[in-house]
């Protein structure tokens, strides 16, 4: 991969990897429903937005995140705008965390992710339940939050690998 970085076209493609993953995941959702595991679901987009906006927001523009939220709402049939609002709240909180952090710490980031996803899922449930009167399964939201939190370290390794390669393309 590192040797490919020297070719201009690959350089260009690699810098767009986070956005490409974001749009594929909202159009397609990595939900693994076909495996049919009863109590398994996680929100890949939350992890993706959290990691990239915390690490370096230049790779995942806020406007792309906003558009991705709109697409996600249409695909999952949520009232339009809710996911955008939630994703942008993640961006706000990660931006705040980045501003107050001098030396990044994995454990701190991990638990901050838990706080963020609990907060935005609560906001989402409140909007759906109280404003749009859509019945939601609280337990599934909780399971989803749990697995999103647990699976973060796995994606962290993967995203770190991508980030290192992208950084090389930008600074070499």
């Amino acid at each position: 991969m590192k040797s490919l970085n020297k070719v201009p076209i690959f350089k260009f493609i690699f810098s767009y990897i986070p956005i490409i993953i974001l749009f594929i995941s909202v159009f397609n959702e990595f939900d693994f429903n076909f495996i049919n595991l009863e109590y398994f679901s996680f929100n890949f987009v939350h992890i993706l937005v959290f990691y990239w906006t915390l690490k370096n927001p230049i790779y995942l523009g806020y406007f792309s995140i906003f558009i991705a939220g709109i697409i996600n709402d249409v695909v999952v049939a949520l009232p339009v705008g809710i996911s955008s609002f939630c994703y942008l709240l993640i961006c706000t909180l990660t931006s705040y965390l980045r501003n107050i952090t001098l030396s990044p710490n994995f454990i701190k980031d991990w638990f901050f992710l838990l706080f963020i996803i609990l907060l935005i899922n609560s906001i989402q449930v409140l909007i759906l339940d109280l404003i749009f009167l859509i019945e939601v399964n609280y337990f599934k939201y909780l399971v989803n939050t749990g697995f999103t939190f647990i699976l973060y370290p796995i994606f962290l390794v993967l995203f770190n690998y991508i980030y290192q390669n992208i950084s090389i393309t930008n600074y070499d």
Partner: protein, 282 residues
């Protein structure tokens, strides 16, 4: 103390208002924009509906294309599962086929008798059907629905019934120009009037967000008179949306609140969209 509050304000202002080199929009403006969209989408303005329908059309088609690789994997997975099931079920199917052949004779007789009685009562049910392809069967943890490739262009309307073979699958809840969304029976917001046969009890079949449904609002004595091994759940026709007698699922004696749907919602490829006109003298 004052310094730490200043730090907080600076960090928060920076998070909200400051744009990075490649950011064209500040976070605060996009957050306000999304709140505005949420508010607008909750109103039923015609212009909002048209724009929403256009966006839906484009996104559903794009999602269908992006989902092609996942659908391929899903199909391979289903084929492997089916292969093993076919081998294991062969003997059972043979026995069941023999029983069904015998029952068919009785069924044919009842069907003819039913038609005669309807003629006598001057009552008829006209149905319009069209076949639709399932574009996306995105079963999110929060909503069970499918996207079909037929929309208002093909005269699909909200409330039309979705049938898989002869089994009920759900109903149309959103119609765009070239496609539509159907809410599956398994969704937590799905509630349809049913009748439990041969007990003859009216109830409501409710989705629970899983692959099965629940029986709600049945008579209290329902549990006492459940003395047979299985009960078939049909639509009751109450409410006038569904025709009476569309098979929904089965209830077994070991769990009398749980409906096992006949149709496997994960493997829908083509479905029928139906609407019924009830005519008669009653």
């Amino acid at each position: 103390m004052a310094t730490s509050r200043d730090d907080f304000v600076i960090a928060f202002r920076s998070a909200f208002l400051k744009k990075k080199d490649k950011q064209k929009f500040s976070l605060i403006s996009l957050i306000f924009l999304s709140i505005l969209i949420i508010i607008l989408s909750s109103f039923d303005f015609k212009i909002v509906k048209i724009i929403k329908s256009g966006i839906n059309d484009v996104i559903y088609r794009s999602s269908f294309i992006v989902s092609i690789p996942e659908n391929k994997i899903k199909n391979i997975n289903n084929q492997i599962e089916t292969h093993f099931k076919i081998y294991n079920n062969y003997q059972n199917i043979e026995t069941e086929l023999e029983i069904l052949k015998q029952e068919r004779l009785t069924y044919n007789f009842l069907k003819i008798e039913n038609e005669k009685l309807r003629k006598l009562m001057n009552e008829s049910i006209n149905s319009n059907e069209l076949v639709a392809k399932v574009l996306i069967d995105r079963e999110s943890p929060f909503l069970k629905s499918i996207i079909l490739n037929k929309g208002s262009r093909d005269k699909v309307e909200i409330g039309m019934v979705i049938i898989d073979g002869v089994y009920l699958v759900g109903k149309i809840i959103e119609v765009n120009y070239t496609n539509s969304r159907a809410l599956l029976l398994s969704d937590i917001n799905s509630k349809i009037p049913v009748i439990l046969q041969p007990l003859g009890i009216q109830a409501i079949a409710s989705g629970v967000g899983e692959e099965y449904g629940n029986i709600q609002y049945s008579k209290e004595e329902y549990k006492d008179i459940f003395n047979i091994s299985e009960v078939i759940v049909y639509t009751s026709g109450l409410g006038g949306l569904f025709k009476a007698g569309i098979p929904v699922g089965k209830i077994y004696k070991d769990n009398i609140d749980k409906i096992n749907f006949f149709s496997d919602f994960r493997q829908l490829e083509y479905v029928k969209i139906s609407s019924y006109d009830f005519e008669g003298n009653n």
